[in-house]
């Protein structure tokens, strides 16, 4: 999204993601606070280390917390993470090298690193993904750990308005992505699909259905 064709380093990615990582640290804390009562102290931290996908982890933890089954928690998390299928396809051209290295670096792709690594024309920069991903991953795991350990002192995170910080963060990531032809149409359509399906489809399905809005790019701009 900055200089076109510029060659980025890991440090560029780390710098770009720094302001977001403070917010993600806060989300990590609130995940730890939310998850600890139902999942115990170690499982939420291990989940942040091995999964690194905030919304899916929140969904799984809250379903377990409400007395839901493992199957319900896993299905909700998988549906919420289904968007990483097409997102993975979009970053695939930028990830070169042996398969295990591509698999490893792909785990650092989350909404924030994906949006920040985009060049606004559909391409992505692998160095930004890794640099931003390592910083964000550290913030997420550290936040979770602090939330689990000090949840009693922190109390209810929604009191601090953290639940509104989520959509604000996605909004800040969305705006630089609106310049391309058809992008505004895709955004409006994506939001409309998601809202329309929320009351009738299971958690996560509205998000994956919204990705179909990108088909407005099928016809030439």
């Amino acid at each position: 999204m900055d200089e076109p064709g510029g060659s980025y380093t890991f440090a560029h990615g780390a710098r770009k993601v720094a302001p977001y990582s403070i917010a993600v640290f806060g989300f990590g804390v609130s995940f730890g606070v939310l998850a600890a009562p139902s999942m115990g102290r170690v499982a939420p931290i291990v989940m942040s280390v091995t999964t690194f996908a905030g919304s899916a982890q929140f969904a799984a933890a809250s379903i377990l917390g409400d007395g839901g089954t493992v199957a319900a928690a896993v299905i909700a998390a998988v549906l919420l993470n289904a968007r990483y299928g097409p997102i993975g396809v979009s970053v695939a051209p930028s990830l070169t090298g042996p398969w295990w290295s591509r698999l490893l670096r792909a785990q650092l792709v989350v909404d924030e690193t994906w949006a920040l690594s985009g060049d606004g024309r559909g391409g992505h920069d692998a160095k930004i993904i890794v640099g931003a991903g390592v910083v964000l991953y550290s913030a997420w795991v550290l936040g979770t750990t602090i939330g689990v350990l000090f949840g009693d002192l922190i109390g209810d995170p929604t009191r601090l308005g953290l639940d509104a910080a989520f959509p604000a963060l996605f909004l800040a990531l969305l705006v630089p992505n609106l310049d391309r032809p058809h992008a505004k149409t895709a955004a409006i359509l994506g939001a409309a699909i998601a809202l329309a399906l929320t009351p009738i489809a299971p958690l996560g399905v509205p998000i994956i259905a919204a990705s179909l809005a990108c088909l407005v790019g099928w016809r030439r701009a």
Partner: protein, 102 residues
């Protein structure tokens, strides 16, 4: 293993597969032109959906609550070119204050 650990293992494994499938199977090669153009619009479509759901969604229902005020304030902050952290903090602060007052 109890429920929490089964969830951690299964969600973790599924996420690794979901995130890794594209890069492992298609990595390092350019996408066909038309697919590339479509996939390029995935960012605005998905990010807008995430904004909408996280603002108005509450489980399976749509609600209008203090979060909408916070996100409205975020729109204003973005309009004035505020840096991302300010945008996020403004949204959280406005929501927290509204929740305390209303």
């Amino acid at each position: 293993m109890n429920d929490a650990w089964w969830t951690v293992v299964l969600v973790g494994a599924a996420t690794v597969v979901l995130k890794g499938a594209g890069p492992v199977l298609l990595g390092g090669r350019p996408l066909p032109e038309r697919l590339g153009r479509v996939i390029g619009l995935l960012a605005p479509a998905l990010l807008a959906a995430l904004v909408a759901i996280n603002t108005f969604g509450d489980g399976q229902s749509l609600v209008l609550d203090e979060r909408a005020l916070g996100v409205g304030a975020a729109v204003v902050a973005i309009w004035f070119d505020a840096p991302p952290l300010v945008v996020v903090v403004v949204a959280a602060a406005v929501t927290a204050v509204a929740r305390a007052l209303l």
